[in-house]
């Protein structure tokens, strides 16, 4: 398995961090005017019946129990975190007797459809193939399929390099259920991925399907177990062509305390995924070879808030793909310095805007060499266009 020593060291450090951070934080509350009430019922203003049920579930109040201002404020935040509403307001109404209250929740719906798009262009000076490169991606998703809180998204990506005429195009259909069978700890992901690669030495069509079930544990960690099936048809221009198929057992571990994946201001994120190839084979029409292998992907990133507008994210990543039988291992490390003049701004189309500059270096075991990269650009969260990333990059190997 191609997971390097430094990966294991960082994994150990972060697992240790997990244990420390997983403790329940102590909270200070100003309770000078707070009062306890007896909860009678929760009523929803405007929300549909199914959404109201989910509001009640997140509020976590039981009839007849004592609730405080703090409980009510916490409930409000949890309802906001459902992501279904633009705005959430809680108010109290008199109950059947003094001290008893009815909690009224007023919400305004948020569009369940979201988009993510990116456009990056740059110059690559990679071995003998210098030239302009560009990639574009677009995702459209629905975060509340059938009003159940499940997520369905379709993503596409295209990449091209002018000097060699190389191109890749891919599409990914992803279904996620954050609370499998209504359970708070269990989740499910199903993905179908199709990819077409056209390089100057080969072209390939790849199809991968995977199903994963995950369970969260502690406050911020989760593990996943899944099954993947892949099929590739590879045409090499200077060598034998063939087909490749695999059945894989996929194991994953993750840890996430970042407060925002796109605009993180603090926290760490670790992902480790290992694919154990079972019953894999490569065939060139004359012979078939069966093999098994271990493939691993790992990435770790942690963000520090330098001041209210300046954020620093360190990252380490390792990609291990099996391309044309030869293992292709990419270790990278770098940092991203982000300057965010617009954050959670109300009343404008662009609610978040962060400029970033991210230098990094990577080593490639398959092709050899060390690649240095610089990415600069801007990330936006726009009410009209969703999440947008526009960037320029340069790379040299």
């Amino acid at each position: 398995m191609k997971i390097s020593f430094f990966t294991l060291i960082f994994l150990f450090i972060n697992l240790t961090t997990t244990i420390v951070l997983a403790d329940e934080p102590k909270m200070e509350e100003d309770n000078s005017l707070s009062q306890d009430f007896v909860f009678e019922e929760l009523i929803c203003d405007q929300a549909s019946k199914s959404k109201c049920e989910r509001i009640k579930k997140e509020a976590r109040f039981k009839s007849g129990e004592k609730i405080s201002d703090k409980d009510l404020r916490n409930a409000k935040i949890r309802i906001q975190l459902l992501g279904l509403f633009k705005d959430v307001n809680l108010s109290l109404k008199k109950g059947s007797a003094k001290g008893k209250v009815v909690v009224a929740v007023e919400t305004s719906d948020r569009s369940p459809v979201y988009t993510i798009m990116g456009l990056q262009a740059g110059y690559g000076d990679v071995n003998d193939s210098n030239g302009l490169e560009a990639n574009a991606d677009f995702t459209v998703g629905h975060r509340d399929i059938f009003g159940t809180g499940k997520n369905l998204s379709l993503s596409s990506r295209g990449w091209g390099r002018t000097s060699t005429g190389s191109t890749t195009g891919s599409a990914l259909l992803r279904y996620s259920d954050p609370n499998l069978l209504g359970h708070r700890k269990w989740f499910l992901n199903f993905e179908l991925f199709a990819n077409k690669e056209d390089f100057n030495y080969l072209n390939a069509d790849n199809f991968v399907g995977s199903l994963e079930i995950g369970r969260r544990y502690g406050d911020f960690s989760y593990w996943t177990v899944g099954y993947g099936k892949g099929y590739s048809k590879i045409n090499r221009y200077y060598d034998e062509s063939g087909t490749f198929q695999e059945d894989s057992l996929i194991l994953g571990y993750g840890y996430n305390t970042q407060d925002d994946l796109y605009f993180p201001t603090s926290g760490s994120r670790i992902n480790l995924k290992v694919a154990i190839q079972l019953d894999s084979s490569i065939s060139n029409g004359l012979t078939t070879a069966n093999f098994s292998n271990l493939l691993g992907n790992f990435d770790w990133r942690t963000t520090h808030r330098l001041d209210n507008k300046l954020f620093l994210t360190w990252f380490i990543e390792q990609r291990n793909n099996q391309l044309e039988q030869d293992d292709f291992l990419n270790d990278g490390l770098g940092f991203e310095l982000g300057f965010q003049p617009v954050r959670n701004r109300e009343g404008t189309d662009i609610t978040d805007m962060r400029f970033y500059a991210a230098p990094s270096i990577s080593s490639y075991s398959g092709f050899g060499g060390v690649e240095s990269n610089l990415n600069v650009g801007v990330k936006l969260r726009s009410k009209s266009f969703g999440l947008v990333r526009l960037g320029l990059f340069g790379s040299h190997r």
Binding site: P25, L82, N89, G141, S170, N189, G252, G254, G267, L387
Partner: protein
């Protein structure tokens, strides 16, 4: 550069002119070679803010009055108070810092009290104010501030929605909508221990030029 030690002289002021600005009223008056400025509060309180203080839940508010010019932002005044509408007494309870709780009969009286809290009396030295620059005042209401400790609990709730990264690079950001929900938790620029807030309302004056004041 303006010397704020000279500038921030509080005094008793008579008003001869009043300018109604964006949503913050300021008055100016020349006194013995200096210019007195007074903020009279706001024309309009945010409807959402009114809704919050009528909700029956206790609302903690940090109120900051700031002076901004090109070179610096100075917090002139800061109040921390709590308000709660008592459903059964049908009165507002108001508590400022360590003071005792005041009972206020109705919303109009409460608004008048809040406006009064935004009153600032500044005395500008004309000598100091001779630069050809703009400045403005703003009052910020940070409603129900969220401490860093509380942000840890919020992150835990966020983690209950996280479904891990995508196995493929493309689409790996699909989880970001979960985190995007924290939009409503406004980042404040106050205290490092304050991570965010339920809401933040900012009232700003129009930009004022020092020369305009000098001409008074």
């Amino acid at each position: 550069m303006i010397d704020f030690k000279n500038l921030l002289t509080f005094g008793f002021i008579f008003f001869i002119s009043q300018t109604v600005l964006a949503n913050m009223e300021l008055s100016f008056q020349p006194i013995n070679g200096n210019i007195a400025i007074k903020s009279n509060g706001f024309n309009d309180f945010n409807k959402q803010f009114i809704k919050d203080i009528n909700s029956g839940l206790s609302v903690k508010i940090i109120q900051i009055i700031r002076f901004n010019d090109r070179n610096k932002t100075v917090n002139l005044h800061q109040n921390v108070f709590s308000i709660r509408y008592d459903l059964w007494d049908e009165t507002f309870l108001f508590k400022e810092a360590q003071n005792t709780i005041q009972k206020i009969k109705n919303l109009e009286q409460l608004i008048a009290l809040l406006k009064n809290k935004t009153t600032i009396n500044l005395l500008f030295s004309k000598k100091e104010a001779s630069l050809d620059r703009d400045f403005f005042f703003e009052t910020i209401y940070v409603i129900n501030p969220i401490t860093k400790e509380k942000s840890g609990i919020i992150k835990k709730w966020m983690a209950e929605k996280f479904v891990g990264p995508s196995s493929q690079e493309v689409g790996s950001e699909t989880n970001s909508f979960i985190a995007g929900m924290v939009n409503s938790l406004v980042q404040t620029e106050l205290d490092k221990n304050i991570y965010g807030a339920d809401k933040q309302i900012v009232f700003k004056s129009k930009k004022i030029n020092y020369r305009t004041l000098e001409a008074l």
